[in-house]
Amino acid sequence: MTGMHHMIVHFPVGFWALAVLLVLFGTLGRGRTAEISQAALLPLLLLSLLGALAAIITGFLVWPWEANLHSPLARNHILMSLWSMAVWTMVAVLIWRAGAAAFTGARRWVLVFLALLGGGLFAMSGTLGGHLAGAPTAFSKILGALGWNVYTSFYVPDGVLLALILIGLGCAVLGAIGRHKVIKK
């Protein structure tokens, strides 16, 4: 299954790399380039998510689950991959919901942030995959310079766990307030 995983991961990686560019062109660009980028994004993201799903499934079959859990690199690879998929799923859903309006106003900055976050996450996932396959890249040195040694597991302390959940809840509550105002309109 190792070879299959190596082959399939190229799809989400390629699609997401292109998606980062399309989000930037679609939100910050003008004219025909922006229109084409906006129109292409949703089908591209749907394909990327299918590819990501296949990559994650085949990835889980490379090693026994026990080995994945015992390896800091594998743990990091799984975490970054699942977070990448979640971020790009979020981008796809937001664009699907808002259509062309997603690329206007303050909404576009949400897309820009999520695209950069998703791009960073899949870059990390990819470099971790390289380490696991025995072909590390220099990108991990950049991560090290930024404060994360990829040979150590990525986890946060309890207080930050709580903060992340509270921030997520806070966002949802803000949305509920927004819903109320939309209904009133």
Binding site: H70, Y151, V156, V173
Partner: protein, 476 residues
């Protein structure tokens, strides 16, 4: 109307991302003496090695940095009428500076093939001493071979083939098989230089690893200076020959050492202990009596002076290339290819709190990682370049783990792929530390994964209505 919720949610996401990044890796790893856990502040260190040989002898020269020299080891301090021991093995550095520095070297000549690929990892079996899950002294002492025959109470280095089930230290193969393994060369030679227990008398300990870590036949360079019935030392300093009755605790605690003075107790200047002497609080007598090694165990000697100077230990050991003891030692022959694994103890630490190396090859007239240089005469000129090795803190990783399903590389090990091209020293050090907290890290990792997904789900819910195609009022 400006939708203030979008920037608010965006700020929340940026804050959460920054928080996660800046605090990653915090909150789990900490020293825990109850679980035999102490993490060294530096996880790797350098070691330089040179090897030379003449017709009869082989010389190994080691050089490594150390902030201080620790030569006091296992001391008895007179306190309120009792002799109190300071310097027994413990987790992490000895707070009283009473644990010695060491350099050790495992040697194989091909009799233990896995050693060339995985080095000292193969010698760490299940429930080794000072692991969090170490076997109890009572269990080991009651074992028919390890306890009753060898008189041991803990699990030390041993080779995989000495157990029927490598995951169970109790399953030692029978005595005939052990003897046959040894005769077939299935053992590792262990050179073991100790700054406290052997260096002062110009010796290195000479040991071997089979089903346990054994001393070679003969007499080692130290013995225990303790009368357990009388609860007092057996020997004391002879003031006529040493000029002192005892060392002083304030010198030991301050780690004040004069390499040309008296900082150890040796047969040459020891007399039977006199309990009637007016002992004073703070008098110190070493709990080890040094002596000339003899027989096979006395094969390895210090060449010249092994001293700590200017922040470095510089130690040269010498041994006959052929000791005539093939059941204890590996012989160094012209055109021979050997494999070595190095370890250093420094900063007053003992037991598993050492730095270890990958396995490296040594060639006598053959191409290898470390090229031994032939010379004529009795004194190597050491003109060759140093071989630079990086040693690493190995943490709690044992051989049963490495060949189990919990190690992603177990299939590679089964195929005989070596560790060096696959894992750097730094990588292994980090993995070793993480293994000491594996369960806690896995739990925290799961929670982090889930918290991140919940954060994104919350943000998506929050943005849902702001991303409605019918929503009006945004400022473009």
């Amino acid at each position: 109307m400006h939708d203030w919720r979008i920037p608010a949610i965006l700020c929340g996401l940026v804050l959460a991302t920054g928080l996660a990044w800046m605090t990653q890796g915090m909150g789990v790893i900490h020293n825990d003496p109850e679980r035999n856990i102490y993490i060294p502040s530096r996880l790797t260190m350098p070691l330089q090695v040179k090897v030379s040989y003449n017709r009869e002898q082989i010389f190994f020269r080691y050089r490594w940095p150390a902030d201080q020299a620790y030569v006091y080891h296992d001391m008895l301090r007179f306190t309120d009428g009792e002799w109190i021991r300071h310097g027994a093995s413990r987790a992490g550095p000895d707070p009283d500076n009473t644990y010695e520095d060491r350099v050790s070297m495992l040697v194989d000549d091909g009799g233990v093939p896995e050693f060339a690929r995985y080095g000292g990892y193969i010698t760490i079996g299940a429930n080794a001493r000072f692991f969090t899950d170490s076997a109890t002294p009572a269990d080991v002492a009651s074992h028919p071979h390890l306890g009753n025959t060898l008189g041991q109470s803990d699990i030390r280095k041993h080779l995989p083939g000495t157990r029927q089930d490598i995951g169970d230290w109790r399953t030692v193969v029978d005595a005939d098989a052990l003897q046959a393994q040894r005769e077939a060369g299935y053992f590792l030679d262990l050179w073991h230089w100790r700054a406290g227990r052997s260096n002062a008398v110009g010796m290195s300990d000479d040991q071997w690893v089979g089903e346990h870590r054994h001393g070679d036949a003969g007499r080692g360079p130290y013995t225990t200076n303790w009368d357990s019935d009388a609860k007092q030392p057996l020997w004391m300093f002879d003031p006529e020959r040493s000029g002192i009755h005892a060392l002083r605790w304030e010198d030991v605690q301050a780690n004040r050492v004069d390499f040309d003075g008296i900082y150890y107790l040796a047969e040459a200047f020891a007399i039977p202990f006199d309990a009637t002497r007016d002992w004073q609080d703070g008098d110190v007598i070493p709990r080890r009596l040094l002596r000339e090694g003899a027989g096979s165990r006395g094969d390895i000697r210090v060449h010249g002076d092994a001293r700590w100077r200017d922040g470095y230990w510089d130690v040269t050991l010498v041994r006959s290339r052929d000791t005539g003891m093939p059941l204890d030692d590996k012989m160094f022959r012209e055109q021979g290819l050997y494999h070595l694994g190095f370890a250093v103890h420094r900063n007053a630490t003992g037991s598993r709190w050492h730095y270890v190396s990958h396995p490296f090859s040594l060639g006598l007239g053959r191409s290898a990682d470390i090229q031994a240089v032939a010379f004529e005469g009795s004194e190597p000129d050491w003109s060759q370049a140093w071989f630079e090795a990086t040693l690493f803190y190995p943490g709690q990783v044992n051989w049963p783990l490495l060949i189990s399903q919990a190690h992603a590389g177990s299939a590679d090990i089964a195929e005989g792929k070596p560790v060096r091209p696959r894992h750097s020293e730094k990588q292994l050090a980090y993995y070793g530390v993480e293994m000491e907290f594996n369960e806690a890290i896995i739990r925290q990792w799961w929670l982090t994964l889930a918290a991140g997904l919940l954060l994104l789900a919350g943000a998506l819910a929050g943005l849902w209505f702001s991303f409605s195609p019918t929503r009006q009022g945004d400022c473009p």
